[in-house]
Subunit: 394 residues, 2 copies
């Protein structure tokens, strides 16, 4: 589909949905209402066509797929996606590492674009707004966790892809490697004008996932923070901690990342070619965050944190499981915890913070047809540091 | 060996060691010095005969064994053992669950008895004192951890059995399922007169291992504490927490322990015949301690703790490893930590505390010949709740 075709499609959609009237607020209500008579029926019950890249099995290979999304409900917004970036989680889930999946399934939970339609109850966004969507797309907002801005812990929350979703024509939520997405307004954040779409995209998962636990440890100047695993998440953890005044130590298994780690502002870059490399740091750091998305020696890494300090795991390995040495952890006396993305208020906070403070991911823009190659590079630790898909190429 | 023979042996030993003079302080120095001429040589270089039960392979079966201990050094004390109790750790280690072992090896790290000789530098104990020994027997006391009363984290510390120990005639430390033991004075605690030997024994590991983490969470009246795994350690955890005013919830897989758990003072006893049993307690407790010494669903148990609370694992499973659900832990937002026994000052503290407050383990006295049968019962969760071996039966 050419750019022109896309515009036509979009316009066609807007015209088509205009008739809803009661349900949708569009770019130019007057103009659209004028065209309402051309509508073929009630828009609210009309599915929205989308096009993207989907997994059809556990191979880790995606292919083009056309599918439908639910109509824009009263509390929903429709976003025309501009960019979606690649998270290691996308790969884990499509490969079935986190349980059996329904296919075809479109991954992607770092999504930015422009609002092209809003439901009648929506006040948070208007058509034309720049918006971002992360790992969550819907919930009934009735539970305490949603009311407290911790939507990620709500049992009703629908995650962005592969999650049972009655309203979806495919029966599951479908992610952002696609041309558009319909989400409940609550689950989209504003993308400020002082950040590019492509640099904002990775903040929706890599940014918030590292920002949330870092904010909980009360970062202050000179606070010694270790970051283990310097990929999409890890490089943001370094930049965020540095921007808050922390003294950062980056631990990587890739020798060629040393220069980058220092360029991101870390005080030291440690190449983990042997567990002995951790010894000089034993009990020295105030805190450590690990983004390592595979099994690793948790207790050994945690030993660099001072006794009774905290170690946060945000990388999600196969089966969501980690095996750790209980005796190792007892000797270091470090508290191990895990953190899952962050809530919506904090997601808005990190996007605004990064835009205002120029804390930006290092990205490489790719076309849809390069996704499979990019996924292999992510697995092989060759990403530098986030692949961002240009949604115009779907 | 009859009781009378033992007495003779002990007397013979005291006479034999009296000649040391420079190295040993004995019950009646005057009397013994009078006998010094009868001595056959310098006592400091004479090994001490001991008799106990040892593992000779990974079978988990022990058999009688006679061996020697090192002479009493300047900083050592010799203890004639009265009782030694059985800890699940003894079984794990002898079976090789924590790594390859040297055999024969005498287990036992809950040891009480009477001091029968002291080295010339020793001021902490005098002959005739009641003394207890736990999981540690020696260290050079030069590191910070020993100076801070956290000897269990010192790299120089020698654990009570199976640990390389140059001074030991067998090359490794040999534990308390035996008639006597030689330890550095620093690693013995005083057993007050207001507690029986047999009830004091389990405090040296089960007591301190649960007391130490419980004291770190600042127990107060009404503080809701979960205890998972109600065996030797768990039943002490309940009694200790209750005595400090906590509201205790005991989680067990043994339905027939319910009555006991309530008798120990717990508010509720939950029979874990299904993970669903945890659901009503989700996020409700202030803290949880797990003594479960095998693999279990850590994140599921941890979910009963309120967000950002703490969960401490003190049971040591096979390989010292635990596999936990990272996503489960992220959802509960609970901090997981592990704790290893406790330091010497705190070990003295728990013994004194339990004696003064009548916080006593529920024990069963057994003879040496019943050890193998008792071990099977421990593994089969049939212990109620600590087997204490009468050392007179070795």
């Amino acid at each position: 589909m050419s750019d022109n075709d896309k515009k036509v499609s979009r316009r066609a959609f807007i015209q088509q949905t205009a008739a809803a009237g009661v349900g949708l607020m569009l770019i130019s209500p007057a103009q659209l209402l004028a065209k309402a008579n051309q509508s073929k029926g009630p828009v609210m019950s009309t599915n929205i066509k989308s096009k993207g890249y989907a997994a059809t099995d556990t191979s880790g290979k995606l292919s083009p797929w056309e599918f439908e999304r639910r109509p824009v409900g009263d509390n929903d917004i429709l976003i025309e996606i501009k960019y979606a970036s690649i998270c290691h989680s996308d790969i884990h889930q499509m490969k079935g590492h986190w349980g059996k999946q329904q296919y075809p399934q479109v991954p992607g939970h770092e999504i930015v674009g422009i609002v092209t339609a809003v439901g009648r109850n929506v006040t948070k966004f208007k058509v034309g707004d720049r918006a971002g969507v992360g790992c969550m797309v819907d919930s009934n907002l009735e539970h305490e966790s949603c009311k407290n801005g911790e939507e990620q812990y709500c049992p009703e929350t629908v995650f962005t892809y592969g999650y049972p979703e009655k309203s979806s024509p495919t029966g599951i939520s479908q992610g952002g490697y696609s041309t558009n997405i319909v989400v409940r307004d609550h689950f989209a954040v504003h993308i400020p004008d002082n950040i590019s779409f492509q640099e904002a995209a990775p903040l929706l998962c890599a940014g918030i996932t590292t920002y949330s636990p870092l904010m909980k440890v009360d970062l202050k100047k000179g606070f010694k923070v270790g970051v283990a695993g310097i990929g999409g998440l890890g490089h943001m953890a370094i930049k965020l901690a540095v921007s808050k005044g922390a003294e950062v130590y980056g631990f990587t298994t890739s020798p060629d990342k040393v220069k980058d780690i220092l360029a991101f502002g870390a005080k030291e870059a440690i190449v983990m070619d042997s567990p002995a490399k951790l010894a000089p740091y034993k009990g020295k750091l105030d805190y450590m965050i690990s983004t390592i998305p595979v099994q690793f020696d948790v207790a050994a890494y945690a030993s660099v944190v001072k006794p009774y300090g905290f170690f946060t795991q945000v990388g999600m390995p196969e089966g969501f499981e980690l095996t750790l040495s209980n005796i190792g952890l007892s000797i270091s006396r470090v508290n191990f915890n895990a953190s899952l993305i962050g809530g919506m208020p904090e997601t808005q906070e990190v996007v605004t913070y990064c835009a205002d403070n120029n804390v930006l991911p290092q990205i490489q823009i790719i076309k849809a047809e390069q996704i499979n190659e990019a996924w292999e590079k992510v697995v092989n630790k060759e990403a530098r540091y986030r692949y961002v898909i240009d949604a115009a190429t779907f």
